[in-house]
């Protein structure tokens, strides 16, 4: 095991870096896109609600791998060249954003509707009321479930391995194939995933306590 790390560390670290990069990008954008669609789902405008609903239901109910393959195969066919890393990151972002939308929507709906009414009566627009009054309260409520989504996101980034995204899982596969040391390799890979997810998990718990 130590041997694997000692001899293969450049590949492993590159994989770790890619996994981390993909996760950070996907986390950032899925949080924004997810929140946006969450707001769509509860807007007074019915068309917006339907759009939000369709988005969430479609992308939440298709396997991540299918979404990713779609971007990896279909986009280059009709739109533009795209590498595995990009396709995987987009797929992961869209897939995760659907789950985040559901989480954030339930958070928004658990905020007292009087908060929105108070803000709108005070002269703020719907979006301003969301931004300054409702969302800050909603996020506080949804930190624990969001933490779960983030951790799932990091783990799900292993989908990159299927589209040659050079992530941790991909490198693990390569090393295992080349060295035939399957067990120790995936042991090391597992530990490297923990290196990302454990601090994330603790940070979310810390945030939860701090904001409580």
């Amino acid at each position: 095991m130590i041997h694997i790390f000692a001899t293969q560390w450049p590949l492993l670290l590159e994989g770790l870096g890619r996994t981390l990069l993909c996760s950070i990008i996907a986390l950032f954008f899925s949080l924004i896109i997810g929140s946006l669609f969450a707001i769509f789902e509860i807007m007074p405008n019915k068309i917006m609600r339907v759009i939000g609903n369709i988005y969430v239901e479609v992308f939440r109910n298709i396997p991540l791998l299918v979404i990713t393959m779609f971007f990896f195969v279909v986009i280059p066919l009709y739109v533009t060249k795209i590498n595995g890393f990009t396709a995987g990151t987009i797929g992961l972002t869209i897939y995760t954003s659907a789950f985040i939308a559901e989480t954030v929507r339930s958070g928004i709906q658990s905020v007292d509707p009087g908060q929105m009414e108070g803000a709108m009566s005070n002269g703020l627009t719907f979006w301003q009321s969301m931004r300054y009054v409702v969302l800050p309260q909603a996020f506080k409520i949804v930190i624990p479930p969001l933490g779960n989504q983030f951790i799932n996101l990091v783990k799900n980034s292993s989908v990159l391995a299927f589209v040659a995204g050079f992530d941790l899982m991909y490198q693990g596969n390569m090393i295992a194939n080349n060295t035939l040391q399957t067990m120790p390799t995936f042991f090391v890979v597992g530990i490297l995933y923990l290196v990302i997810t454990m601090p994330l998990s603790y940070y979310m718990r810390y945030l939860e306590k701090k904001l409580a």
Partner: protein
């Protein structure tokens, strides 16, 4: 110019006819008290005035804008028409001072020092300058309601709507809130529409009393007629005797 004009307004919740053919004019500067049994549509009526509830028929003109017109953005009206709720609805994530300063900052782009100074002046006026840095949950109901009034005043509105502002309060706090409201009615040219069963308030600073039942306005009297003469409507008379005996 009239501040609020209802012309044959109808409001439905689904099939339920909540406001029936409402005709009502409130002049600028008037203080009007709205009373009526539970479920009569008082909240519904007051909430249509700043567009929190849409109307289905008729004309509703507030501060010159017609709310029945789909093209009217209710936000335009809300900048000049504040609302005070039964349960305060202060921003739970903001301090008292931030509650008061938020809308002037975002909506009116009032410069920060001017904003703060005016907010502190309002806090002083409602007797809570020492609570500027508290959060709403740390305050009593009566204190929260006075903050909510200060928050509305910070927008320098022309009109204030109150929906049972004292009915969620312990008795000993009611007067603190009513006194603030009386001061506003006396000292400013604010138009006020107040849903309340506090008849002391109506007697002292009210100009008119309106009685609603089952979604209709049954009585619209000057204060003198209402209290000293007799409301002509039988239900209004009964209702009045009930709330006055209760006090």
């Amino acid at each position: 110019m009239s501040m609020i004009e209802f012309h044959d307004v109808q409001k439905y919740y689904g099939d339920f006819h909540a406001l029936k053919n409402i005709n009502l004019t409130v002049e600028a500067g008037e203080t009007v008290v709205l009373i009526g049994p539970s479920g009569s549509g008082k909240s519904t009526l007051i909430r249509t005035i700043n567009g929190l509830e849409p109307i289905q028929k008729g004309q509703l003109i507030v501060n010159g804008y017609d709310l029945a017109d789909k093209k009217t953005d209710p936000n335009k009206i809300r900048k000049n028409v504040g609302m005070v709720f039964q349960h305060f609805n202060l921003y739970a994530n903001k301090t008292v001072l931030e509650n008061i300063m938020l809308a002037p900052k975002i909506v009116l782009k009032r410069p920060d020092d001017e904003n703060r100074e005016f907010a502190m002046k309002l806090l002083d006026k409602v007797g809570l300058a020492n609570k500027a840095d508290s959060y709403p949950r740390q305050l009593s109901g009566g204190q929260q309601q006075r903050i909510a009034i200060a928050r509305s005043l910070a927008m320098k509105p022309k009109c204030l709507l109150f929906d049972e502002p004292t009915s969620a309060l312990d008795p000993e706090m009611i007067d603190d809130v009513l006194n603030v409201m009386k001061d506003i009615a006396r000292d400013s040219d604010m138009t006020m529409l107040v849903v309340t069963h506090e008849m002391g308030f109506a007697r002292e600073v009210g100009d008119r009393v309106i009685f609603m039942a089952d979604g209709e306005i049954l009585e619209d009297d000057s204060k003198e007629t209402f209290f000293d003469g007799q409301p002509s409507n039988e239900r209004a008379r009964q209702f009045l005797s009930k709330i006055i005996v209760h006090k």
